[in-house]
Amino acid sequence: MELEAQPFVINFGPSHPSTHGVFRLRTILDGEVIVDVEPIFGYLHRGIEKLAEGRTYVQNIPFTDRLDYLASMTANHGYVLAVEKLAGIEVPERAEYLRVIMSELMRISSHLMAIGFLTNELGAMMTPLLYMYREREKILDLFEMVCGQRLTYNYMRFGGVSHDIPREFLPAVKKFVREMPGFIDEYDQLLKENEIVLARTKGVGILPADVAINYSVSGPMLRASGVKWDIRKDDPYSVYDRFDFDIPTGSAGDIYDRYRQRIEEMRQSVRILEQAIQQIPPGEVCAKVPSLLRPPKGEVYARIEAPKGELGYYLVSDGSIAPYRFRVRPPALINLGVLRYMSRGWKIGDLITIFGSVDICVAEVDR
């Protein structure tokens, strides 16, 4: 007699300890092995793209904060860049430097969270995460010093930033830059050559370079697969062409490489910060821009290297005070497309860690 076998379907989420928000992974299992996985999202959909069409350009800046709340400064940066390109606004040099400083601090903070949550999903009892929170708190303190906020900053404006930095900000950044490499070494001590970390991450969830390109993956995930593509170098925006920094790349494209990639990028960000605080010129922080902006008719696409990948904004203007179309290219959502390819055939524990190594923020995926 042949027994009728049914596939074991299990839903990780929508509310699950390691889904980074409200997210659902519909998984078909064969014992412990993942046969198929289907990400189902939309639980956090707020219709930001549609809402933005009914508000003025300036009023949309706070919306961008709420896209990827772990990296709101870079989300701001991409949007103001798009509007400036649309309206042809010149940005003072000091403001550009401030934007770079904020973006790089944000990148460090976002990568810290990515690695911290990855170790949590590997099964650490919060310890690495809490060590990384310690440094993230310092970055948040810096942001609070500048704009009074710790999560949604709403700091950047068309033509510059909302206000100048306080006097004690640059020395504080200098202190942070001096200390940070030591802290990164500390994380390495705990994780880099840990036998269990190696066993769990080496060779797991491999993403070959050609597949990564075909799936339009970007950011640290793409670079961990060995593709040297960084918008800061390849399509420089702001003043990134004035800094001397490298683009680290991985080779195998497994979870371990993605983790190493983020660590190396933090080191490079520290290097950029070091140069930026030395070079920063005095002067205005915001150009004269009318408070009710009416960009000329046209469309524009601007992109930046956000911590999670290529964050793009596509704006269409009909000459009125509100954008006719406001479209975000969310790096996390597009990186997520490759999840099924990476996790089929691995075990449940690997699915969770592969998912963690993609580093998504559900607020950005659902928008």
């Binding site: 049914q6 699950h16 099964g123 840990n194």
Partner: protein, 410 residues
Amino acid sequence: MSVWEYIVDLFVNIRTDWIEWLQGFNLASSLIILLDSLIGIILMLIFVFPIVIIFIWLERRFIAWMQLRPGPNRCGPFGLLQPIADAIKTLIKELIMPAKGDKLVHWLAPVVLFFSGLMLFAVIPIGKGHLGALADLNIGILYIVAIGSLSVTAIFMAGWSSNNKFALLGAMRAVAQLVSYEVPMVLSIVGVVLIVGSLQMSEIVGQQSYPFILVQPLGCFIFFIGAMAELNRSPMDQIEAESELTTGYFTEYSGMKFATFFLGEYIGTLAIATIVTTLFLGGWKGPFLPVWFWFVFKVFAVFLVILWMRATLIRVRIDQIMAFSWKFLLPMALINIFITAAEVLIWDKWMSGWESFPWPFIFVNWAIAVVLILLWSKIFFKLGGGRVEVGEVRPGYSQGYGADLQAPVS
């Protein structure tokens, strides 16, 4: 007998006095044994429950300290009353029963886990001589092995009766993992039994003029690792696996049932710590201070090592954990038995007996342990597993977002 002498071996002295007092009444001997076990059980519970409550508090404070955060510090001085606050909170929560679960088994599972943990303490000596343990069985170790493996049943009962896929997965993992780790754990005890020549717990402690960890480093290592797996403690917490299976087999438990599970796990941890203390660290033996102090001190030392591992290491994958048991621990345990047996033979034949301090064997065994672990981990043992080839999914299972599962196409 001075007060100090009375305190030094408190447990045994109270029991001796009680038995003497009972004998004055001219009772039947079976009744005396019954009443004697009664006071023994009460004393044992007085020993177990405060330590478990301190364990719960210590776990949170110690791990918080390792994680650069204050930990619970609102209830009482240093948050000492936190376990009581937790207990009250869990007691007043609603008991939720899954709609299609098995009610009786669901209710019974935490009880089985709780009592199987508690029963282990019956044979653990916390005082000198035969009266040191509640029941000094002549097959003490065998009793521990037998009762200790009952927890698998409880965990599987919980996972099965919950009618929850996470719980079922956790329970399946539990059966695979706990049964595998039972084997090297039992084999690692054999080394100690060979040296002592008895299965009796009081005899094992009595013969430890030096802690057996000195002559049995490999056995101690294997037993400790196996015990960590038995306890579902990180890095072997596959069964609970918070980030994967939410909480594994007790996902569907709430209220007092959950609290019983929780307490049962801590009782299990305490039991393992006491067993390690008894077998490898010299049990209640120690200079100057009362015997119960030494016992509790060693138990806490073992517990802190368990916590330290929990705060530092990440979880091992399920196939790696099974490979580790069968390909790493089991051969090591067998080699350990072989070496110990040879040494016992040599010692009995040419030297005066195990009572004196066996210097040569301490050096030899430590060297063998270090070399074996290094060799095995670097050369012979590679964590296997990895990706499995899976075919394309048959159409109808995963079509469209949110589509419900369709019946298989035959």
